[in-house]
Structures are given as structure tokens and as C-alpha cells.
Symmetry: C2
Subunit: 442 residues, 2 copies
């Protein structure tokens, strides 16, 4: 019997294990996960913090018991600490019983995920300082929130912004500290400006272009020292980025790609026969840049895992890649981006330009509509679409998916303008905002 071992069971790993077993029921499938949970929606943690999701366990898609019923053996609190690829043997540390044992495999999926960066500042080891990545992190912060009144968040990326909202919903004071000159610095300044406005309208204090220099406190954090002054805080969240957990892969001889994550082909195979990678530890191909790209997001991880599982089960499957689509909610604002920002496109050497328009998400006369902003980044001359952003009220921003589809097809602004996009007064102005933006391109 072929034995598949999956290292890491959150998103990529859980998907790979489930799909492999479904595709090839004759396969022995074992998952080792070092945390206490498998198959959970880490993206939901900010909504657990805010109280919108009352029970942490609600984030779990499939419990170890459910996996077992499907014939997948799951071991939580089990950390794979070494892999001997030659002999197809791995060493596992059981955190529960504090013992080490060995297991064998024929096939291996590395789904070891990513870890939050901790900035090298004095004072980060104190109490009251957190990162948010695992279910355990979520539980810890939730508990700590009870005693906290003033909070500081380092880093204004997705996690920082989502947690800022959660903390405000709980009535906490929130200061958001970002080293770059704007929140959501991966987006263009015109998009960040909309985000900043929304944050400030909801009482988040936004400090940009600010470097933290130390976390002050005497064992328990009291605030953040920055080059722009001191921010008092009872609770500090570090959300300055993540890195792929590649140590195990590197130690066993699995090659990393140019991004620093594990290199894979379209079937999620690594350089070692029988070894796959999936999820935040693995690269994807960027279909606009046409080169490897690291996009550590939940939907991508699931696609990686499903592809790896299918291939392991000997079903034809490929993961073509990503165009870099993301969406998140900042209070009442949905912020969706795809492809390249203008800044990124120019840095990549494209002769790129951008247009950005403000329209509405319903007919001019329809009650209760909201502003909707569309940004297009395109190549001068060819009109090829390179990226875009849609910012507005909740699901109106789902229009980003249209831009994503066009990026997959290497479509042009002209192609966008030709689209038959559906109109009715509650859903759109008669000219869809995407088309209004496309019309601005000369």
C-alpha cells in the first residue's frame, strides 16, 4: 500500500490529504500537524477576535474525527522535525506525549505554511505582544483583549487592517503603525488613500512612514517607541509580514525558488521525486509576470492542495498559477486588487499607465447605492491589462473577478470595454463602473 504523509494540515495540507484519499482510496494518508487544529480557516481569525464569530472552533472545516471517517489519519500537535529522503523516513515529535518516533512514506506533501515575522526590536519578548497566525494565537489574543484598552498594530497589510477593524468593533483604541508611506502599501497610493479614509472614519489612528524602534515595558508591554513618538498600548499586534517555513524542505534537499518559497511545477511537484509542496510554503506561477511568485493566501493554498492530491491520486490536474487577486474588508469598504499595481508594473519595466474612476454601485436614481472606485493598470500602446483595483461597498467589489479573468486571458482594455456585463438599477449604473474606467483609457 502506498503511504502518503502530509506535513502540515491547515489549508494546503488538509486539501491535499482529503483530495488524495478521495481520488485514490487505496492510498494510506497520514497528516502531521504541529498545532492543535487542522483544516481551519485562518482568514476568519479577525472575525473571531471581533466577536462576530463567537466560537473559535467554528473556523474548523473538518475535524480530525471527520478526516478519520474519510480514512485520513490525522495527528495534531505532532511536528515533523526531520525527513530522511533517501530512506523515505521521517522523524516526528509528539508534543502531547513529548516523545519522538519515526514513520515511513512513499509520497510526501510539504505543507508547512508560513510564520509571522517578528521585527528585531528590543522588547518583543514581553507579555502583551502577539502575532496572529494560528488558532492558538487567536485564542491568546482574544483572552488578552479583555484587559486591553489601548492597542497598537505594527503593519498595515491585510492582517493589520482586518485586526484594526476587529479591535475597533470591541471599542479598543487602535493605533496602526506602518513603516511605508501608506496603509496597504502593496497597492497604489490612490487605493491606499481610500483605505486610510475609511480607517480614520472609524476611529483608527493611522501613523504612516513611522519606524518602531522598541517595545517599551517591564516584562509586560506598555507601548511602542517610534521615530515619531511614543504610542502607549496594553496590547501590541505584530503584523509586519510572513515568511515560508522552508527549513524542513531545505534540510531534506527540496529546492526553493527565486521567491524563497518551495519551487513547484504545475502539478505541485518539487525537485524530489514523490515530494510535493502546497500552500503558503510553496510558490505559484504569476501569469502576468510569467515567473514564480509567492502568494500566501487561503484560496491559493486550497488549490495547491487539491492539485497535489489529484496528481498523487493519478488524476490529471494542473495548477496554472495566479494573477495576484486579493480582497479584504476594512469596515464598510471592500478592497479588491488583482495583477500589478502601477508601481509594481513600472518597476517590472512595463510601459504602464493607470486610470482610476469613481462611479456608484447602482443606478443614479436607485436608493442606497454607494461609491465604487475602479482602477485599471494597463500597458501603453498594446492596451494590455496589467492589473486593477475595485474599492467599494462589500460585494460590489466582486467586479475584481472580471479583471482577474481578463488577466488570465491576457486581455486588453478594449476586451474589457466589449464585455456584456449585465445591468439592472439595483446592481449597477447603466455603464458598469468597469466600463466607465475602460472608457477613460485613451
Amino acid at each position: 500500500m502506498r503511504r502518503l504523509v502530509v506535513v502540515g494540515g491547515v489549508a494546503g495540507g488538509a486539501s491535499a490529504a482529503a483530495k488524495a484519499k478521495r481520488t485514490d482510496p487505496g492510498l494510506e494518508v497520514v497528516v502531521y500537524e504541529k498545532s492543535g487544529y487542522v483544516s481551519y480557516g485562518a482568514c476568519g481569525l479577525p472575525y473571531f477576535l471581533s466577536g462576530e464569530i463567537p466560537r473559535l472552533e467554528a473556523l474548523v472545516a473538518r475535524t480530525p474525527e471527520e478526516f478519520r471517517k474519510q480514512g485520513v489519519e490525522v495527528h495534531t500537535r505532532h511536528e515533523v522535525v526531520d525527513v530522511n529522503y533517501e530512506d523515505r523516513v521521517l522523524t516526528v515529535f509528539d508534543h502531547e506525549n513529548r516523545r519522538t518516533f519515526q514513520d515511513r512514506f512513499d509520497l510526501l506533501v510539504l505543507a508547512t505554511g508560513a510564520r509571522p515575522l517578528v521585527p528585531s526590536l528590543p522588547g518583543t519578548e514581553q507579555e502583551g505582544i502577539y502575532t496572529l497566525r494560528s488558532m492558538e494565537d487567536g485564542a491568546r489574543i482574544k483572552e488578552a483583549l479583555e484587559g486591553a484598552r489601548r492597542t497598537a498594530i505594527l503593519g498595515a497589510g491585510y492582517i493589520g487592517l482586518e485586526v484594526a477593524e476587529a479591535f475597533r468593533k470591541l471599542g479598543k483604541e487602535v493605533t496602526l503603525l506602518e513603516a511605508k508611506d501608506r496603509p496597504l502599501p502593496q497597492a497604489d497610493p490612490e487605493v491606499s488613500a481610500l483605505v486610510k479614509q475609511e480607517l480614520e472614519a472609524h476611529g483608527v489612528e493611522v501613523w504612516t512612514g513611522v519606524r518602531a524602534t522598541a517595545l517599551r515595558g517591564a516584562g509586560r508591554v506598555e507601548g511602542v517607541e517610534t521615530d515619531a513618538g511614543f504610542v502607549p498600548a496594553d496590547l501590541v499586534l505584530l503584523a509586519v509580514g510572513i515568511r515560508p517555513n522552508t527549513a524542513l524542505a531545505q534540510a531534506m534537499g527540496v529546492a526553493l525558488g527565486p521567491t524563497g518559497a518551495i519551487a513547484t511545477d504545475e502539478r505541485m511537484r518539487t525537485n524530489l521525486e514523490g515530494v510535493f509542496a502546497a500552500g503558503d510554503v510553496a510558490e505559484s506561477r504569476h501569469l502576468v509576470l510569467e515567473r514564480p511568485y509567492w502568494l500566501p493566501l487561503g484560496d491559493v493554498a486550497n488549490k495547491h492542495g487539491r492539485t497535489a492530491g489529484s496528481v498523487i491520486g493519478k488524476e490529471e490536474a494542473r495548477f496554472r498559477g495566479v494573477v495576484g487577486t486579493a480582497i479584504f474588508k476594512a469596515f464598510g469598504l471592500a478592497v479588491a486588487t488583482t495583477g500589478l499595481s502601477l508601481e509594481a508594473a513600472l518597476k517590472e519595466g512595463f510601459r504602464a499607465k493607470a486610470v482610476q474612476i469613481q462611479s456608484r454601485d447602482g443606478a443614479h436614481y436607485y436608493p442606497g447605492t454607494h461609491p465604487l472606485h475602479v482602477r485599471l493598470v494597463y500597458e501603453e500602446g498594446t492596451g494590455r491589462l496589467l492589473g486593477g483595483a475595485v474599492v467599494g461597498h462589500m460585494n460590489a467589489a466582486l467586479r475584481i473577478k472580471v479583471l482577474a479573468a481578463l488577466l488570465h486571458q491576457k486581455g486588453t482594455v478594449e476586451d474589457l470595454l466589449a464585455l456584456d456585463l449585465a445591468y439592472a438599477p439595483p446592481f449597477s449604473p447603466v455603464w458598469d463602473p468597469l466600463l466607465v474606467a475602460a472608457q477613460q483609457v485613451k
Copy 2:
């Protein structure tokens, strides 16, 4: 000075006039519109009836005065009754002053729109029986609603369904009568079933497979006789379909296409040099069927008009065609369709199949999400996407735009499955419902 006359000023005509003048300010532009209004959103009339839009005039995008300021001469209540193409002369009847006069043109846009069908039943000439097409229709029905308690709507297409909602919002009894076996008969039965459920949940009585045989009353309507019984009603809306207003075009020698609407090329030119057509009176090309198709919708009309205006102003512009995308709201449900239904695809000779799934419009653990249904119609063997439907809560159904974009590109289910569509818990399950549907295709 070249003189452009636009016949009809609602959507296609208003767009053509405005765009032509903007593109070539040296052009003389005159619009004749037989009703009392130009440039209005007829699609908003149901929301005027419901009271959600309090003032009828709110539907107007651009008043005659605003047109005049832009150098476009607009005459409402002026009906073009004859065109002498040879001499480039037209005859106009001024309804206000009840006089006839002549005008000349170098260029002509026919934007005469469409008219509601009145079924040939005994009793349709009575009071209390309406069609909904113009602003004047809207005003008349609104007034009549004050005395009405029981209403009947003949025809369960978009208009019938939207008005059913409006009448229910006003607390009227509503019986919806449809000759075919389901509401929204242009969609597949599985989509109609969702619509029917929503209608009934909101107190609309839905009679399907029912033929009206007469409108009973003694000068004022009292109800609808049908082959399934009598439906008492103080107010009856006839919403059984529309036909293009082609009489003027035919009389002057403009060729109609196979659909019965005016045939045009990608530049909205008719068979007569200098004569263009735009809006509900004109055909479009259907990019899935690859033949002319009549899609009398507001957004299409605006695209027609803009294209005609650009071409007249000597700017490069083409209208490539439609894929048949539409969206409408039935109470809490947004119903969006694109391309071919399974029924239509099979009738067209495609080896078509369909899948339909139910998912949700947010992560399983996120509060306040709603069911979301996705239907895909595709060609067996090639996997080519032929059509689809998305039915769910409001803007979640905007995902239809992705399917529309794929239809424009002649994409496959495989292409759909490959899309990087953006995920965050408030917006989508980790597998977007579009992808869940694509996964069901074997």
C-alpha cells in the same frame, strides 16, 4: 454643417446624440422624441411604482435643457412620421402644437425603441389595464395603484417579476400569470424554481401554464379569465413581451435582420449609407451563437448609441456584440444569467450539459451569509462554456460577469477552474462558488 437627426431619445438615441456631439462638436445634432421625456432610465420604473424612487423625474439622466447646453437640440412630444431617404427629408408631427413640419438630415440615427405587446384578448381596451414602458406609463400606473387592491400581472419575464415585487411592497395582492410552465421561462427550470420560491415566499400568487382568455369588466377591468379559473383584479399589467418599432425603418427601406429588428454592422450602420440604428430597435451580434440576436436591454442600448455616436463623429469604434447577460432583482434574490440556457443550447444543436450547485456567499463560519446558486451550461467534450446563471443575495450574483467575460473569450470550464478569483471570509467560501460549480463538471 453636417446635420444629424436622431429619432428617439431614450437610451440608444440619447447616447448617440450626446456622443456624436462630443466627438464632433461641429455637427448639428437634433433629437426628436415622441414621448415627453428623453434620456431616462426606463429600467427604474418598477422602483418608482414601489415608491423606492419617490419622484418620476429622478429617472432622467439628462434633461432637454442639459442637452441644449451641450449643443444638442431636443424636441420632446415630436414624432417622426415619415422619412424620405432619397431627399434626406423627414416629416415630424409636433404633438404639443398638433402640427406637421419637415426637417432635413445628412445623417440619421434610428432609435425608435420597442413597444409592449398587447395580447389579442377580448377586453384589453378597458380602464385599469396597463403596459409599462414609458415614463407616462409609469405615472399612469402609479396613480391607478392608489385605488387598487388586487392586481394581476400577465407575463413572468423581467418586467412582470420586478413589478410583482413593487406591487407587493405596496401591500397589493398580486397574481402572476404565465403561459409557460414557469416564471422567467427564458431561464432553465432549475433557475425558475428558485425564482418561484422567492416570489411565493413574498406572497405573490404564481399561476403557470395558464392562458388568459379574456379581460373581464364593464369598461373598467374586474379581472382576468383564464383556462384555469378567474382572477379578480382592479389593476392588470400586461407584460407579455415587446417588439421593435421598425415601421419607420421599413417604410424608408432600412433592412431588418433575421430577428425582426434592424440589421446593423459593428459600427451600428444599417444598409442605407448615413443611416444608423441604436437601442431596442436594433439587433446585436450574439457572440456565442455567432449570429444576429435581439437583446433589448438598457446597457446594450447605451453601447449601441455610444458606438453610433463615435462612428458619426469619425472616431474608431465598434460594438462587438453581446453574450446575452442579464440581471434582475426579485425581492431578496438577484437572478443573473448569461449566454445560453441548457434548453436553448440543446435547441441550437450544441451537445450541451449543465451543472448546478448551491454554495454560500461567504465562508461557512462567517455570520450573515446567504445561499448562492451557480449553474454552468457547457459543451460536452470540448468543455466550452455556453452559458450560466448565478442566483443569490444581491451583489453576490455579480459573479455572472465572470462567466460573461469567459463567454466573450470562448473560454472553457477548465479556464474557469483556473481563475484566481479573490477570497476573504466576508465575500466567498475559500472555493468561490463559480469554482465549486466548475469542479462538478466531469
